[in-house]
C-alpha cells in the first residue's frame, strides 16, 4: 500500500468507544475479540462508513506482558482482532492494520525490561498479525523512542508489512521520556518507517504546531491522530465535539499532515466530520530541512556549524582505559564520557577494540551504559562489521559509524548496515593503494564513497568525509594537502568533514600548540567535525574562537559565556597549605588528586591508602556518626577519595601491577525493587575504602546474586530493599545465599529494613553506608 497519495483517513478511538459501551478500566480489552466479536465488527464498520480507509484492529495491548493471565495467547487475540476488522472491511477498500501499542512496562534504563526482550514481545505480535492477514502494521502511542525502535525493528525484520509509527507528545513538544520531535523523525525515518506522526495526548489544536515541526524534520508522510481535546476530571468527557475537532484538524493538514484520524474521545462521528471537512482540501507542501544531524532521544546535534567529536573513549595508548576494558569496568568508561560531555563535546567517538576484548559483546554493553547517563549522540568507531551492527542495534537514536573507506569490499560490507539502522557514516579517503599523496586523489576517493552511499540510499547529508591527518614530522608536505582536500570536500562536494586533529603533532614537543595551530587552519579550510580531546582547553578555546569568527556563535554569546569573568591566566592553586587529609575531608576532588600525585613521590600506593586515605575517611565517618557531618559530606569525602584511588590505579597500571583491592563485595537492589540510589551511595562509600564492589544493579533475581557469588568467590553480599513489597525478595535472596555450600556473609539495609528483621534473616544490619563499612571490616579484614 502507498501513503503518498492525497489524504488517507484513519479511524478514531477504540478504547474510549468500548468504555462508553460498558467496558471497565483495567482488564484486557483484547479478550473482547473472542467474547464479543459482533460489537467490534460493528464499531469497525461504523468507522468505515464514516470514511476510514484504514481501520486499526483491536490489538493495541495484545502483547505477552500485558495479557499475561487472561487465559488466551497473543496469537489467538491478534488473529481474532484482525479477523474481526477484516469482516467489517469486506466489500470495501478499507485496509486492516495490526495495532501495536506500548508494552506497559518501561525499558532499561528507566525500567527493567531489556531492549532484546521488548523486541521479542513485539516480534511475536508482528508475526501473528501478518499471519492473520493484516495489510499493514501501526506502532502507536509510544513515548519511549527506544521502545518504538524495538517495535519497528521487530515488524521490519519479521514481516513484510508496511509500517506507520506514531508517538505521543505533550504541550512541551516532548514525550514523557523527553524525546523530541526531531529526534523521533530522524531515528524512525532512518530505520525505515513508511510514515510517522503523532497520536493521543492533546487535541488537534494542541498538536498542530508539533505536526508543523515534524513536517520540517522528515521526508515521510506525516500522521496526525489526536484526541478530542482533554478529558474532564469530574465526568471524564472530552472537551471537543465532532465539528470543532474536524475544523481543528484542518490546522494539522495545513501544518503538513496527510494521514489523519482520531484518538481518545473520538468516535465515528468525528471521523465523518473530518472526512467532510477535508473534501476539497489539498495536502500542504512539505518543506524538508535537510541539514544533517545525529541524535539521542533528548538531544539532536544539528550539523550546521563546527561540532566537536570527543576522542577519549578509546584504549589506544591508554593503560588505564585498557585495564577498564579488560576488567569490564563500565563505570570508568562512563566517567570518561561524562568528563567529555562536561568539557563541551558535541558527539562522542566510542572505540572499545582491544586484544582480549570481545568487541561484539562489549560495544553494545558500553553503549547501553553510556546512554543511561550521557545525553550526547555517539559515533561508533570500529572496523568490525558484527560489532558495529550489534552497537547500532541497541543505540537509542541516530548514530554515526566510523568508518568505511574507498575499498569496494568495505563499502559493500558496511553500507548496508549503515543504511539499515539509518546512521551517518565517516568515509576515510584511502583505499587498497593506501593514502593518496595528493588532495585531488583523496577527493576522488571521497566522490567514490559518496556515490556508493547514495547507491545504498544513504542520504548525502549523512556522508562525512575524513581527509586524514598525517604526522607533520614524518611527511611535512602532507599537512597542506590534507587542508586542500578538506577545502574541496567541503566546498565542492558540500559534505561534512572529519579530521583526527592530534595526529599532526606526533613526535614533536609542545604538541598542544601545534594541534591548536593545525585545528584553526583546518577549521578555516572547512573542517566541521574535529575529533579532539575536549578536555584540552587550548583546543576548545580555538573552537570557541572559530565559532565567533565564522559567525556561528551569534552575538558572540557562547564565547562571552565561556570567557567572561574568568581570569585570563589560570589562578594559582587554591591553598598551598592544604593537605591531602584536608582535601579528602572537605571533598575537594581535584586538590585531592593533585596532592595524591605529589604524595606518591614520597610513599608507595599501599601505604598512601592505609596511612592517609582511610584515616581521613574515618574522620569524616566519625563526624557523620556523631551528627557533626551529614551524608552529602560523607559522600563528597568518599568521592575525593575516589579521585585519589584513580591516581593510584593509574600509577599502578602504568607500572603494570595489579590494583589495590581489599576484598570483593557484591551489592544489589533486590528483585522487584527499582529504587537504587541507596545502594549506589553504599557502593560509593565502600569502593572508596578500597573494597572491590561488584554492582549487580537493581531488580536483581536471587539466582543472579547466587551465581555471582559462586563464580567470583565473593565473601560478603549487600542487599537493599526500599519497600515492604520487596522484602520477600530480600528474604528469598538471603535464604538462597545462606544455603550455599560455603555461604557468604550477607548484610541488608534500606528504608523498611530494621535490625531485628536483619537478625531474623541471619544477616548483618547496615543502617547506612557508614555501618556497611563497619560490617565489611568485620567480615573481610
Amino acid at each position: 500500500m502507498r501513503f503518498d497519495r492525497d489524504f488517507l483517513i484513519l479511524d478514531g478511538a477504540m478504547g474510549t468507544v468500548l468504555q462508553k459501551r460498558g467496558l471497565k478500566p483495567g482488564g484486557v480489552p483484547e479478550v473482547l475479540n473472542l467474547t464479543d466479536p459482533e460489537m467490534l465488527i460493528a464499531i469497525h464498520r461504523e468507522y468505515i462508513d464514516a470514511g476510514s480507509r484504514v481501520i486499526y484492529a483491536n490489538t493495541f495491548g495484545a502483547n505477552a506482558h500485558k495479557i499475561a493471565g487472561c487465559g488466551h495467547s497473543v496469537e489467538e487475540l491478534i488473529t481474532a482482532g484482525v479477523h474481526n476488522a477484516q469482516k467489517a472491511a469486506e466489500g470495501t477498500d478499507a485496509k486492516v492494520a495490526l495495532d501495536i501499542g506500548p508494552l506497559g512496562e518501561l525499558l532499561e534504563p528507566m525500567g527493567s525490561l531489556s531492549f532484546e526482550d521488548a523486541y521479542a514481545l513485539f516480534a511475536e505480535m508482528a508475526v501473528a498479525g501478518e499471519k492473520a492477514g493484516a495489510d499493514l502494521a501501526v506502532i502507536e502511542t509510544m513515548t519511549d523512542l527506544y521502545e518504538a525502535k524495538a517495535a519497528l525493528l521487530a515488524v521490519k525484520e519479521n514481516t513484510s508489512l508496511p509500517v506507520m509509527v506514531t508517538m505521543s507528545f505533550d504541550d512541551t513538544g516532548r514525550t514523557f521520556t523527553g524525546c523530541t520531535v526531531s529526534a523521533m523523525a530522524h531515528t524512525l525515518e532512518g530505520l525505515g518507517a513508511d510514515a510517522i506522526g503523532l497520536n493521543c495526548s492533546l487535541g488537534p489544536d494542541g498538536v498542530a504546531p508539533i505536526v508543523a515541526e515534524l513536517s520540517r524534520c522528515t521526508r515521510l508522510p506525516v500522521i496526525a491522530k489526536p484526541n478530542a481535546g482533554l478529558p474532564d476530571p469530574v465526568d471524564g468527557s472530552y472537551s471537543m465535539g465532532p465539528e470543532a475537532f474536524a475544523q481543528a484538524m484542518l490546522a494539522c493538514v495545513e501544518a503538513g499532515a496527510t494521514i489523519v484520524g482520531g484518538c481518545c474521545g473520538t468516535s465515528p462521528e468525528y471521523i465523518a466530520a473530518t472526512a467532510k471537512a477535508l473534501q476539497g482540501a489539498k495536502p500542504a507542501t512539505h518543506i524538508f530541512d535537510n541539514t544533517g544531524c545525529i541524535c539521542t532521544p533528548t538531544r539532536v546535534c544539528r550539523l550546521d556549524g563546527v561540532r566537536v567529536i570527543g576522542e577519549r573513549i578509546n584504549p589506544t595508548g591508554k593503560k588505564r582505559f585498557q585495564q577498564a576494558l579488560l576488567e569490564n569496568d563500565l563505570d570508568y568508561i562512563l566517567q570518561v564520557a561524562v568528563e567529555e560531555e562536561d568539557a563541551g563535546a558535541d558527539i562522542l567517538d566510542v572505540n572499545v577494540g582491544y586484544p582480549g576484548v570481545d568487541e561484539v559483546a562489549m560495544l553494545p554493553r558500553v553503549i547501553k551504559k553510556l546512554q543511561s547517563a550521557v545525553t550526547l549522540p555517539l559515533q561508533l568507531d570500529s572496523s568490525n562489521a558484527e560489532a558495529l551492527e550489534a552497537g547500532l542495534r541497541v543505540y537509542n537514536g541516530k548514530a554515526a559509524v566510523n568508518s568505511v573507506n574507498g575499498e569496494p569490499e568495505v563499502l559493500a560490507k558496511l553500507l548496508p548496515i549503515v543504511r539499515k539502522y539509518g546512521a551517518a557514516v565517516v568515509g576515510l579517503t584511502l583505499d587498497k593503494g593506501g593514502i593518496p599523496q595528493t588532495s585531488e586523489a583523496r577527493v576522488e576517493i571521497a566522490k567514490r564513497i559518496l556515490d556508493a552511499c547514495l547507491a545504498h540510499n544513504i542520504p548525502r547529508e549523512d556522508v562525512w568525509i575524513d581527509c586524514l591527518t598525517l604526522t607533520v614530522s614524518a611527511q611535512q608536505e602532507q599537512a597542506m594537502e590534507t587542508l586542500k582536500a578538506v577545502r574541496m570536500v567541503h566546498s565542492e562536494l558540500g559534505l561534512q568533514t572529519v579530521l583526527g586533529v592530534s595526529n599532526i603533532s606526533f613526535g614533536l614537543p609542545n604538541r598542544p600548540f601545534l594541534n591548536q595551530a593545525f585545528l584553526l587552519q583546518a577549521l578555516a579550510a572547512g573542517l566541521t567535525l574535529p575529533i579532539i580531546n575536549p578536555n584540552l582547553r587550548e583546543l576548545m578555546d580555538a573552537v570557541a574562537a572559530h565559532r565567533v569568527l565564522s559567525g556561528e556563535d551569534a552575538q558572540c554569546t557562547r564565547y562571552v559565556d565561556r570567557f567572561a569573568g574568568q581570569p585570563t591566566v589560570k589562578a594559582a592553586v587554591s591553598e598551598s597549605s592544604l593537605t591531602l587529609d584536608d582535601a579528602i575531608v572537605r571533598g575537594l576532588k581535584a586538590d585531592a588528586a593533585r596532592l595524591a600525585k605529589e604524595a606518591l613521590a614520597q610513599q608507595d600506593e599501599l601505604s598512601l591508602v592505609e596511612q592517609r586515605l582511610i584515616p581521613a575517611l574515618d574522620k569524616v565517618g566519625t563526624d557523620y556518626e556523631s551528627g557533626r557531618a551529614f551524608l552529602p559530606q560523607l559522600l563528597s569525602a568518599a568521592q575525593a577519595a575516589q579521585s585519589v584511588f584513580e591516581v593510584i590505579r593509574t600509577s599502578i597500571a602504568q607500572k603494570g601491577g595489579s590494583p589495590v583491592k581489599k576484598g570483593k563485595i557484591a551489592i544489589a537492589t533486590v528483585q522487584g525493587d527499582i529504587h537504587d540510589i541507596g545502594k549506589n551511595i553504599v557502593k560509593t562509600v565502600l569502593a572508596n575504602y578500597g573494597y572491590e564492589v561488584i554492582d549487580l544493579g537493581r531488580d536483581v533475581a536471587p539466582e543472579t546474586v547466587v551465581q555471582a557469588v559462586a563464580e567470583q568467590g565473593i565473601r560478603l553480599v549487600g542487599l537493599s530493599a526500599l519497600m515492604t513489597t520487596t522484602l520477600p525478595a530480600m528474604e528469598e535472596t538471603t535464604r538462597q545465599l545462606l544455603a550455599m555450600p560455603n555461604p557468604p556473609a550477607v548484610m541488608v539495609g534500606g528504608a523498611v529494613v530494621t535490625a531485628d528483621y536483619a537478625e531474623s534473616l541471619g544477616a548483618y544490619y547496615a543502617h547506612d553506608a557508614r555501618q556497611a563499612v563497619d560490617v565489611a571490616r568485620k567480615v573481610l579484614e
Partner: protein
C-alpha cells in the same frame, strides 16, 4: 521552594555547614528550572479501598478524588546523570525531587479545591501508609489512566515508575474535615524511622 524540606529529606540539619546548604539551594533551583510536576486527578462517587484507615478518613465524604502526580522520566534521567558525576549532589537532587513532587501534590490539591468551592477536603492519603497497601497502586493508576496521561507505570511489585511519583486519595465532604490520620500511628515507617528513634517527629 522550601529548602528546609529538601534538607529534611536529605537528612541534613538546618544548621549544617553553609556551603552544604548553598549547594542544596543551587541544586534545588536548577531542578525547579528544569522540571515541573505534572498531575492528573479524577473524582468518583466512591471507590473500594482496603483497610481501616481509608475508611476512617472517608467517613462522611460524598466523593473521592484520586490524584497522581509525577516529576516524570526526566527526573530519573537527571538523577542518573548526576549519580555518574557526583553522588553527594545526587543525594541532594533526590531530596529536592521528593520535596518538589510534594509541592506538585499541594498545587494539584489547590486545583481540586478550586474546582469544588463548596466541598471540604480531607487529608491526602497515599498507599504504603497506615493499612492502605501498595497493592492498590494499579487500580489508582488505571482509574486515572495515569500510564497514558502521565507516563506512570506500576511494577509487578507495586512500585511506581518514574521514581518521583505520588498517588493519593482525597475525600470530598460537605462538612469541615478534621485531620484524622496524621502522625506516627498511621505511618508504615514507624518501626524503622530514624527521626522517631531519636525521639523526634516529621512534619506529617
Amino acid at each position: 521552594m522550601d529548602i528546609s524540606e529538601v534538607l529534611r529529606y536529605a537528612g541534613v540539619a538546618p544548621d549544617a555547614d553553609e556551603s552544604l546548604v548553598q549547594r542544596t539551594e543551587q541544586i534545588t533551583q536548577e531542578l525547579c528550572n528544569a522540571i515541573s510536576p505534572r498531575w492528573v486527578w479524577r473524582v468518583f462517587p466512591s471507590i473500594d479501598l482496603p483497610g481501616q484507615t481509608a475508611q476512617t478518613m472517608l467517613t462522611d465524604c460524598h466523593s473521592v478524588c484520586i490524584l497522581v502526580c509525577t516529576l516524570g522520566a526526566a527526573f530519573d534521567a537527571r538523577l542518573r546523570a548526576m549519580q555518574a558525576r557526583d553522588m553527594s549532589d545526587a543525594l541532594l537532587l533526590n531530596a529536592a525531587g521528593s520535596a518538589l513532587v510534594e509541592e506538585g501534590c499541594d498545587a494539584a490539591q489547590r486545583e481540586i479545591a478550586a474546582r469544588f468551592p463548596q466541598a471540604h477536603l480531607t487529608d491526602r492519603f497515599s498507599p504504603g501508609y497506615g493499612d492502605l497497601p501498595l497493592s492498590v497502586q494499579p487500580m489508582l493508576c488505571d482509574l486515572t489512566d495515569a500510564q497514558r496521561r502521565l507516563g506512570v507505570h506500576v511494577t509487578d511489585t507495586f512500585l511506581l515508575n518514574p521514581v518521583k511519583t505520588v498517588t493519593a486519595v482525597i475525600g470530598l465532604s460537605d462538612r469541615p474535615q478534621q485531620a484524622r490520620i496524621r502522625g506516627c500511628a498511621y505511618c508504615s515507617l514507624r518501626e524503622s524511622c530514624s527521626l522517631r528513634k531519636g525521639g523526634k517527629r516529621c512534619a506529617l
